[in-house]
Structures are given as C-alpha cells and as structure tokens.
C-alpha cells in the first residue's frame, strides 16, 4: 500500500514542484491549503508523513506542529517543516516543538525530495550498485 504524505502548503508553485516527484515515486499526496484545517485533516487522513510550511493562511505551521505534538493521536506522526523563512529562530522553534526535520525550499532540489522522505520513513533507497568483476 502506498505511503501517504499530507502536504500543508498554500503556494501553488511549491505544491506542484514538490508533489510531482513524490507522486512519481508512488507516494499518495494529499494537500491542505488552509492551516486552520490542517490538524483536523491529519487526524482523519492518518498520513505517514506531514510536509508542513511555516507561513500559512489561517495559522502558522509552528502552531500546527505544536498542536500535533500535544495530541495523543498525532504525537508520533513524522513532520518535516518545509519553509522559505529559514531564520535560526524558526528552525530552533521547529525542532523545539518536535519537528523531525526542517528543509529550506530554496535549498532542496525537488527531484531529491523523495529520497529524503524515504530516509525519514525508514524506507530503503534506490542505490546504483556497480558490480566489479574480477
């Protein structure tokens, strides 16, 4: 069964460039645009991983993360903050609130995101192994 990723992102551009490679690698991607509905959707959809933007309409990704960690049913969901506002304060707050990782949108190459997600989910990655014949 395909692993499910819930992507909380209001920017159409970022959603497109990050969801396409994830879908290509077989992940089921569910999108939430308005931060106000994120926690509710996470509880209903039970994703394997949440990709969470920080600046959102409705509320902040950091507040959503905090609530997820406070609720028993979402305490252990893997959460990756994906943001363009990479201030030290935001990163340290995200880690303090319990994010599993924090990625800068302007640093990460979309085609490399699936491997990053796979390693966070503890999945084996595709390696090119060269066999040397003697």
């Amino acid at each position: 069964m395909a692993k499910k990723i819930l992507f909380v992102e209001d920017d159409e551009g970022f959603y497109n460039i990050f969801s396409v490679p994830l879908k290509m690698k077989g992940y089921d991607v569910v999108r939430v645009v308005d931060g106000n509905y994120a926690v509710e959707k996470i509880i209903v959809e039970k994703p394997d991983l949440v990709l969470l933007d920080i600046v959102l309409p409705g509320t902040s990704g950091l507040e959503i993360l905090k609530e997820l960690r406070e609720r028993e049913e979402t305490q252990s969901v893997v959460v990756v903050m994906l943001t363009n506002f990479g201030s030290d304060e935001n990163i340290s707050k995200a880690m303090e609130y319990g994010a599993n990782d924090c990625l800068m949108k302007y640093n990460i190459v979309p085609s490399e995101l699936p491997d990053k997600i796979a390693s966070l989910l503890g999945e084996s990655q595709n390696f090119n192994v060269k066999v040397m014949e003697s």
Partner: protein, 276 residues
C-alpha cells in the same frame, strides 16, 4: 531710618532681580525641554523608518526567492525526470514556470513604481475607456480564485457612466490589488461587492468585503509604504506595497482612495476618478 528704607529698597530690588532671573531661567528650561522633546521625536521617527526598511528587506527577499525557487525546481524536474513525467505533469510544470516568472515581473514592476512615485517621475497613460468593462474584466478574472474559498463576487455597474479618460491598465492594477485583498481577508462563503457609481463629476468605485474589517488604529497606516495588514490570526502577508501603489495611481489621476467600515462587518475600499 534712612538706612532702613535703603536696605528695604535693596532687598526688594534683589527679590525682583531674583524673580526676573528665575523667570528667564524657567523659560529657557522650557525651551530646552521642548527642544529635547523634538529631538526625541525625530530620533523615534528615524528609528521607525529604519526599522520599517529593515523589516521590509527579509519580506522582499522572501517574495523574490519564492518564485525563483519554483522556477528552478520546475526546470530541474523537467530536465531530470522528463521521461517519467506525464503530459499533464509537464504542462503543469511549464505553466508554473510561466506563472512564477509573471509573479517576479510584477514584483519588480511594483518596486519600480514605488521608486518612480517617490521621485515624482510616475506617469499614467490616459485614454478614453469604459469603467464598466474594466470592472467586469477584473471581476471575471478573480472568479476562479474566489470560488476556491466559496466566495461570491458581485459586480454592480452604473450604466449611466459614459466613457471617460483614465489609464485602464493602472486602474485594473488598483482593482486587482483591492479584490485580491478582499479575497485574502474574507472568510469562506462570503460576498465581495465591486460597484461603480457617478458622484458629481467623479466616478466612484468601491470594493467591499465581509471579512474581519480593519481596526480604526490601522486605517491611517494602510496606504503607507511597507505597511502589511494582519489577517484574522495576526499573520502578515505580502510586501506591503499594493495599497501604497494604488494610492499613487489614483492620486496621479487626481482622485482619492480611502477605506471605511462595511456595516455590519468587513471593509469597503473606495476610490474616485475625475470624469473630465
């Protein structure tokens, strides 16, 4: 006796002199206090200006970096994963490159507009146009976006307004800013009303929403450069240039722009254009 009188006179003179000196010193102190107050005000205003500029730079960087990151990301996917992408996905990514490029161009355009407005070099290109057509076009353009939030845009045109001279592209820019703000700050399911009417020798256009409204204390600041209004959760979005530019455009026409409360809730942005 004479000596006593002389002494008394001297004492009185001394007292008067002391009084005069006190009054002079007191008034000098008051002036100094006033001066100090002015100096403190100037320092405060300067610090506020510097802080505003300092606050704006990270926002500008974010607004520039976002579309650039998207363009780079989409191009990367098209180059590396072309064989694995469906026709729809390729179309989505190419469209995204186009859309993000437009966003960047708009932002650069806004910064240039602000620069021209501040240096007195901003110009509009007037020609005879129909304000009703302009309003209808903008309302249609924003309908798909409004639908995402279940918002309804009502467009009410005064058919008595004849064609008159204005810069249609620039007025569309103002409408675009006001309608997109109305959508941004409206709750799901609300109504946005765009209407035109003739008021004396002016065409008056208003954009009303039923959102959270604007606090009275924020109203005088709204049209200032870099001022970002907060949404209902106190989150600030955008560059804070839209309303400043809108004001510049309307004033270049000889009109006015302002905001009122939209009873019972929401805001009403109004601008006027002279129909001479």
């Amino acid at each position: 006796m004479e000596q006593t009188t002389l002494l008394n006179i001297l004492v009185i003179l001394e007292s008067v002199l002391l009084l005069v000196i006190s009054v002079i010193l007191f008034s000098k102190t008051r002036n100094l206090t006033k001066l100090k107050k002015y100096e403190e005000e100037i320092i405060k205003i300067k610090a506020k200006k510097e802080a505003t500029m300092g606050d704006f730079l990270p926002i500008l960087v974010h607004e520039l970096r976002s579309p650039i990151s998207v363009i780079r990301g989409a191009a990367d996917l098209l180059m590396k994963e072309a064989n694995g992408l469906s026709a729809d996905q390729i179309h989505t990514l190419l469209n995204q490159i186009k859309s993000s490029s437009n966003t960047l161009l708009d932002l650069v355009g806004n910064i240039l507009d602000v620069s021209k407005m501040e240096s007195g070099r901003f110009e509009i290109n007037k020609s005879f146009n129909n304000i009703g057509t302009v309003l209808k076009e903008e309302c249609s353009y924003f309908e798909p976006l409004a639908k995402i939030k279940n918002l309804t845009i009502n467009c009410s045109i005064d058919e008595n307004i004849m064609n008159f001279s204005f810069d249609a592209e620039r007025v569309k820019q103002v409408l675009s800013n006001l309608i997109s703000n109305a959508i941004k700050f409206s709750p799901d399911g609300g109504i946005i009303t765009v209407e035109s009417k003739k008021v004396d020798s002016y065409c008056q256009v208003s954009v009303s929403d039923v959102g959270v409204g604007i606090k009275d204390v924020e109203k005088p600041l709204l049209f200032q450069k870099f001022y970002q209004a907060s949404n209902q959760n106190g989150i600030k979005r955008g560059t804070g240039l839209g309303l400043f530019i809108s004001k510049g455009i309307i004033e270049a026409h000889g009109g006015k722009i302002w905001v009122e409360n939209n009873s019972p809730k929401g805001s009403r942005f109004i601008f006027t254009l002279p129909m001479n």
